[in-house]
């Protein structure tokens, strides 16, 4: 074995070690975040924390029930707006490509995913809060919908693009009109990828605090009225984490843990559901 060859072996090895280090660092931070939240948050979680209302500052005990319900409500209303719009737009640009501006729309959607969420919040503030005269759960949903639409649009278009043209042709050749071909063949065939994209968008929205600051605004009391300010979990975390009380910091960790678990559960359950569906 000559020296040159040994040197090349060494370079090969050094590269491998370098990449291993990079991988370890990224995994380390992921595990660290999960572990830190777990250690600080999990101990505080009990049934009361999940089901009780918040108590006034300084008192111990109490929970985040209103924020959990608020998050659920705001995200649900946002999904009701974002899913039809995002999927509808994806259908339009993918199934009717002759209109040409599909690529432009797609590009805009990609840009939109990069817009800071605080800017999205400001926009929703100008669009809904100012004209309607006050903060509201609905304005929060609008802000979330702005975040969700481009994600849904991009994932849905990818999903539709993967449906083979031969299936569209098979359907059209049976004398099935185009819209029924889309509803009866294209969407069902791509449904898994569509659902995955929707869940991705929902998970993303669930964790966003910034767009809620001047829209949903937060609320220490119980509220399910869409026209009134509402508490959401990320907003509550923000408030508690920046507050002066140790007990609040504890609660912020616990709420973070709850949020992580909810997001994780959503993805895991979706995956399980999709896998179950494939075993026909």
């Amino acid at each position: 074995m000559n020296r040159h060859f040994r040197f090349r072996k060494f370079v090969e090895w050094a590269n491998w070690v370098g990449m291993l280090c990079c991988m370890s660092v990224s995994v380390f931070f992921l595990v660290a975040i999960l572990g830190y939240v777990l250690v600080h948050g999990a101990s505080y979680i009990d049934w009361e924390f999940l089901t009780a209302m918040p108590v006034p500052a300084g008192e111990t005990g109490g929970g985040i029930a209103n924020a959990l319900v608020g998050s659920f409500l705001v995200v649900m209303v946002a999904s009701l707006m974002a899913l039809p719009i995002g999927i509808g737009a994806a259908i339009f640009i993918n199934e009717f490509p002759s209109h040409g501006f599909g690529r432009t729309v797609r590009f805009l959607a990609e840009v939109l995913t990069g817009v800071p969420s605080i800017v999205v919040g400001l926009f929703a503030y100008a669009l809904v809060v100012v004209p309607s005269g006050g903060f509201s759960a609905f304005s929060g949903s609008v802000a979330y919908a702005f975040i969700m639409v481009p994600i849904i649009l991009i994932t849905a278009q990818e999903a539709l693009r993967l449906v083979p043209d031969s299936l569209r042709e098979a359907s059209l050749a049976l004398g099935i009109p185009k819209w029924r071909t889309i509803m009866g063949v294209v969407l069902p065939v791509s449904s898994r990828a569509l659902i995955t994209g929707a869940v991705l968008a929902i998970s993303r929205a669930l964790g966003e605090a910034a767009p809620m600051l001047f829209t949903a605004f937060g609320n220490s009391f119980w509220n399910v009225n869409l026209t009134k300010p509402i508490a959401t979990v990320p907003l509550l975390i923000y408030t508690y984490a920046t507050g002066p009380y140790d007990d609040w910091h504890q609660k912020a960790w616990a709420a973070s843990f709850v949020l992580l678990v909810v997001v994780l559960l959503t993805s895991v359950l979706t995956r399980a559901f999709l896998r179950g569906n494939s075993n026909e």
């Binding site: 042709e169 098979a170 059209l172 049976l174 004398g175 099935i176 009866g184 063949v185 449904s191």
Partner: protein, 282 residues
């Protein structure tokens, strides 16, 4: 056969004499003509893929389209039910008459055309989201028919028609994608038959199948022509000779020769036809 040989380039530039009009007239005088194609030209952008083709397709006969790759036969068959319209930039000139009605006339809905002129594709393409049963009645169901009894009858009749009933009757709820390739293709034929088309177009229906599955489909074609007029594109000349009553030879977008299969294969009139069927090119 002449001993002289010539290159492909000569073929391209050679004048194609005597349009096939005479052959068509001979056929056209018979009133058993289901479809009549009149001076059909197809363009993809500026490229002309089919050049002024005229042809008559006879009722309850099998018409085979043969020719080398890229000769326009697939493009041509896709014009017979307006499927080529799905290709961006495709444009058609000329007429395609089905029972004397111009399929390209104003106010004719391509959806209606495709209901009357069914199609089976190169690769079996059952709907993967549907069971065998749902695949067969897809044309019905997606068109809004819901009556269970009617649908059950259609399922059995179509699957029997496609010679698939005995193989799948106990498993109608199985996914269509779980069948073998040959079964899938027969399922696609059943699906096309279910909507009762007048004409069935088959675009190289056996090219993705093994010889046994191919033999089954060929046998099926023989039976099917009792109830439906068939046009089949094939790369396989033996197949054309076996299954068809009439054969059309396409070359470079033109219809070189068209006539009864027996005659075209034993005594072709044109040099190009002879060279192709004897395997000199293509």
């Amino acid at each position: 056969m002449s001993s002289e040989t010539y290159a492909m380039n000569d073929l391209k530039t050679r004048e194609l004499e005597a349009p096939v009009a005479t052959a068509i007239e001979a056929l056209g005088s018979d009133n058993g003509v289901r479809m009549r194609v009149d001076e059909l030209s197809v363009y993809y952008g500026k490229v002309q893929a089919v050049k002024q083709v005229s042809m008559a397709i006879r009722t309850h006969k099998v018409t085979a389209l043969i020719g080398p790759s890229g000769c326009g036969k697939s493009t041509f068959i896709r014009c017979l039910n307006r499927m080529h319209e799905l290709t961006p930039g495709a444009r058609v000139e000329g007429k395609v008459l089905l029972d004397e009605q111009d399929l390209y006339g104003t106010g004719v809905d391509p959806v209606d055309v495709r209901r009357r002129v069914g199609m089976v594709f190169q690769k079996p393409n059952p709907f993967p989201n549907m069971s065998v049963r749902d695949n067969v009645i897809a044309g019905f169901r997606l068109n809004g028919v819901r009556d269970r009894k009617t649908l059950d009858e259609v399922v059995e009749k179509s699957l029997r028609g496609a010679a698939l009933w005995d193989e799948v009757k106990d498993n109608l709820q199985k996914s269509g994608a779980s069948l073998s390739g040959g079964q899938q293709q027969r399922l696609c034929i059943a699906r096309a038959l279910a909507v009762n088309p007048e004409v069935l177009l088959m675009d190289e229906p056996c090219s993705a199948l093994d010889p046994i599955a191919t033999a089954k489909i060929e046998e099926l074609i023989h039976e099917l022509k009792e109830q439906v007029t068939i046009v089949i594109v094939t790369h396989n000349m033996q197949q054309a000779a076996r299954v068809s009553d009439f054969t059309a030879f396409f070359y470079l977008g033109e219809l070189v020769e068209f006539g009864e299969t027996g005659k075209l294969f034993t005594a072709p009139e044109k040099r190009q036809t002879e060279d192709y069927i004897t395997g000199r090119f293509g």
